[in-house]
Amino acid sequence: MSVIEQKAGSPKRRLGDLVFANLTFGSGLLILVALAGVAIFLTIQGIPGFSAKAADLDGHANFIAYVWPLVFGTLLAAAIALLIALPLAMGVALSISHYAPRRLAVVIGYLVDLLAAVPSVVYGLWGISFLGPRLAPLYGWLGTHLSWIPLFKGPALNSGRTILTAAIVLAIMILPIITAISREIFMQTPRLNEEAALALGATRWEMIRLSVFPYAKSGIVSAAMLGLGRAMGETMAVAMVLSATGIVSFNLISATNPSTIAANIALKFSDSTGVQVNALIASGLVLFVITFIVNFAARAIVSRGDVRNK
């Protein structure tokens, strides 16, 4: 302990400090260990699943053939959900940041938080009992009149429990996170830039286009990717709403729908034994890797954007 160090104002290194500093650092490491643990334990338990036989893979020849339709369904449902949620979230975020008067904006913020607070199983309940049946007539109409579009080939499912319904429920569920992040970024637009646009005689929309959007671009991209990650990992709503057969198809309104990895695990886990469980865990590992990559990329974009904007 040098005298200089104490003079510089840094407190004396006591035993208590050492213990405490290491304890907090240990906690941080523990989190990283847990993250690594997820990958490790899923791999250990998943390995037997990778080489499972057809009998344990719902009749698929090998693991790839088993997991591919699930990956397809996961990506399809998440992509549609994002397609629906992104424009809506932009609208809601703008209404809070630039359109609503301050008091109303606070109320809208609360409502969006409320939307985020609803548990996924309740969304599932609502989707299966309310939304699905309400959408069925629409699907019927699409199946009759627009069946030349491959997406709406039909025949339409009467219960409405299609991948499109599942995607709509997913869209509602990821709306709050995309909204929250976009709103934050929209509100951070420097006032100076907004005034520059307005002083040139821009309308409100032109001001948003000129000064808000360019500033928020990377933030919107990462918000969308975080939403995508959420949608891919969301389990219960899809498991409950979707009447899945696990095929690969772009037909969005029929009775035979692709399943998603997460929903497939939730539906099959209780009744699976032995290697079947390992195969499910292996598929979970695939989901973990995909969502990890998406989230990693999204966060990387955010943190890079932070540096540049400051």
């Binding site: 646009a197 040139l200 005689g201 360019p214």
Partner: protein, 259 residues
Amino acid sequence: MAKSIDVSDLNIYYSDFLAVEGVTMTIPARSVTAFIGPSGCGKSTFLRSLNRMHEVIPGARVEGKVMVDGQSLYDANVDPVEVRREIGMVFQRPNPFPTMSIYENVLAGLRLNNKRLKKSEADSVVEKSLKGANLWNEVKDRLNKPGMGLSGGQQQRLCIARAIAVEPQVLLMDEPCSALDPISTSAIEDLIHELKEEYTIVIVTHNMQQAARVSEDTAFFNLAGAGKPGRLVEMNPTKKIFSVPDEEATEAYISGRFG
């Protein structure tokens, strides 16, 4: 052509708070008018009310009249968007659009009204505006570089180029040099001298020497008292204000006895 501005009995509010009270003045065309006064006396607020920019802050409103070329800015059927096109503004800190090149920054205002600007037209507007802002020679070889890459003084002149590219009648400047070094400041002051040939210029400044150097007329604003609204104390030709002002308060401020 450049226009004069007639203000009569203008009150400016932020919600219920009266910020500026009872201002009446005439700002002559093709001339530079400076607003001076201590911080918080409402001179920037008043400036922003001349092109309806103060409305951007929720709850802000005015009572009274601002007439430009016989038209009242606050008539019900007047579009603030139109007003701001005719009365341009340069801010305290340079604010070029960060994602745009120098070229696109200059054209930003024009592009709003005219989507399909011909390349040759665009080029000539950019050159004319940048020359008008005394920036052309410094940036003509890097027009496609981002505007944020310029120095502070160059950025401010870029903002002036952007403002004059839409050919406004009036140019409002809100302490345009307060964030700049002396050399850049002098470049902007030279520019103001040239611009008054074609524009009506109103400049808010904290720097009394600057007001003395660039302006024909000077208006002195002050608070009516602690917690009271700001008001116009006197407006006179700059020479008179800085030598024999009408009001005691003006002289006290200029000679540095307060403020």
